[in-house]
């Protein structure tokens, strides 16, 4: 159980983050704190910088300005694998499986390196994650034979195999039917109950609404709204730029 004081210090602090590509500014002075155990929704029009933001958090990209603090430690300069070991895991929006491995082996990589344990136990854990994701039947399949949606699920499963404190899901539910969305949401929510903090990027509004305790909306690299879901959805700029209703 966490103490009240500890729960108050944010798990992740993003401070004045700016990222540019050539002359184009993809993230413009972004600051946000995410609390421990929080379920955080990230939305915004296409190209607004969501993926770029989590790239900066996971270490895949280095921001030009700003800092990322995780569990009180400044990790801005750390390479991605050390962030993974400290408990940050992410899925990729455009799946990047280890093509020469089976689905199970894909998960074993994370277990081997970020959450080391005994080999036999690892395999069990991997299977249980796959079962929860509904991918158990594909455990032995080479990952390059999966359908797109299955690949996205595997992305999420592989991130879970890192046994993270902070799990970032980048559109893992795209292309799922609403009943499947529900299943995955249930899973994520149950992870949240295990004290795992989750940042979820989705364009599926029902999912964002149901899942998030707080939602942040980006537009053109800037935060245009941040608050409880209902508030954000009601925000006029969010409706104009994003929802269109």
């Amino acid at each position: 159980m966490t103490t009240v004081a500890a729960a108050d210090t944010p798990l992740l602090q993003v401070g004045t983050l700016t990222k540019t590509f050539g002359g184009f500014t993809a993230l413009d002075n972004i600051s946000v704190d995410i609390k421990k155990g929080e379920r955080f929704g990230l939305i915004g029009p296409n190209g607004s910088g969501k993926t770029t933001l989590i790239n900066c958090i996971s270490g895949a990209l280095r921001p030009q300005v700003g800092s990322v603090v995780f569990c009180g430690e400044d990790i801005t300069q750390l390479p991605p694998h050390l962030r993974a070991r400290r408990g940050i895991a992410r899925s990729f929006q455009i799946p990047r499986p280890f093509r020469s491995m089976t689905v199970l082996e894909n998960l074993m990589v994370g277990l081997d390196f970020a959450a080391a344990g005994s080999a036999a136990a690892e395999e069990e854990i991997a299977m249980s994650i796959l079962t929860r994701m509904g991918l158990a039947a594909k455990a032995g399949a080479p990952s390059d034979t999966l359908s797109q949606v299955e690949l996205r699920k595997m992305e999420l499963a592989r991130a879970m195999a890192v046994r993270p404190k902070l799990l970032i899901s980048d559109e893992a539910m795209a292309g799922l039917s609403s009943s499947e969305v529900d299943e995955v949401l249930d899973l994520l929510i149950s992870l949240g109950e295990e004290d795992i903090t989750i940042i979820m990027i989705e364009h599926i509004m029902q999912a964002v609404m149901r899942f998030s305790e707080r939602v942040m909306c980006l537009d053109a690299g800037k935060i245009i709204a941040l608050g409880v879901p209902a508030e954000v959805m009601a925000n006029k700029r969010v409706q104009e730029a994003y929802l269109g209703t």
């Binding site: 455009i94 034979t145 797109q148 009943s179």
Partner: protein
């Protein structure tokens, strides 16, 4: 402008994996047909069969154009594209190291389309203004949603008569989803496009769909003659309309 697609008793798969079993389905000129089904059920495989990318094990794939019937199972993908069929594949499949414009120009590779390049270019730039802004960006560096737009635009560049779209809304913001769906609906009117669309966003899909099929475990479970019939279907209720508030 007579065009119709008739599929009968189609079996297909990947080696030991049987993805489609006895699929029977037809699409008539000017229609927009929705294809529903949870992930891994064979929607994409069906699209690939129509395009000639996956060879069926048995069954009939007939495309009649202006009274001439073509057996698609015997034609190469290139020949099928030449007949005026275009696919927006899942996973976008762009040419990442070519610019937006170059990707679009390749969309017009088919001889028939070359004369209409300027019109088509205007059309897609009008539909997705961001593509015009980013015409010289490399496709691989675009955001997920921008890539999806480019994939759709590229297919439109070939002046298709039958458009197959595999999950057009994946990765698009809610605003763009409705815009894109509306645009497809508009094209259907304007150039007499016939559309077969796999789309999980049920509420958006039925805005323009005339009727739909539900595919379960590689078999057609429901063939609904109208949108209302679809809405009333139990499977649809369970998969797409239940759950999320």
């Amino acid at each position: 402008m007579a065009l119709s697609l008739a599929i009968e008793g189609l079996d297909a798969g990947y080696g030991a994996v049987k993805a489609l079993r006895g699929v029977t389905l037809h699409v008539e000129a000017g229609e927009t047909v929705a294809l529903l089904g949870t992930n891994g059920n064979g929607k994409s495989t069906l699209m690939k069969c129509i395009m000639g990318l996956v060879r069926p094990d048995s069954g009939r794939l007939a495309l009649s154009i202006d009274g001439v019937t073509h057996d698609l199972a015997r034609l190469s993908p290139e020949a099928i594209v030449d007949l005026g069929v275009a696919l927006v594949p899942e996973g976008r499949r762009l040419f990442p190291k070519l610019t937006v414009t170059e990707n679009l120009m390749l969309g017009a590779f088919r001889k028939m389309a070359r004369s209409a390049i300027q019109q088509n270019l205007a059309l897609v730039f009008d539909t997705f203004p961001v593509l015009k802004e980013r015409r010289d960006q490399l496709a691989g560096t675009m955001s997920g949603g921008q890539q999806q737009m480019l994939a759709i635009a590229r297919a439109l560049m070939s002046s298709p008569r039958l458009l197959l779209i595999d999950e057009p809304s994946v990765g698009l913001s809610p605003l763009l989803v409705s815009q894109t769906i509306a645009k497809i609906g508009e094209l259907k009117q304007r150039v007499g496009l016939t559309v077969l669309m796999a789309e999980q966003n049920f509420n958006q899909a039925i805005r323009i769909a005339d009727r739909g099929y539900i595919i379960v475990h590689g078999e057609i479970a429901v063939a609904a003659q109208s949108v209302d019939e679809l809405k009333a279907n139990d499977i649809v209720k369970r998969l797409y309309l239940g759950g999320v508030a």
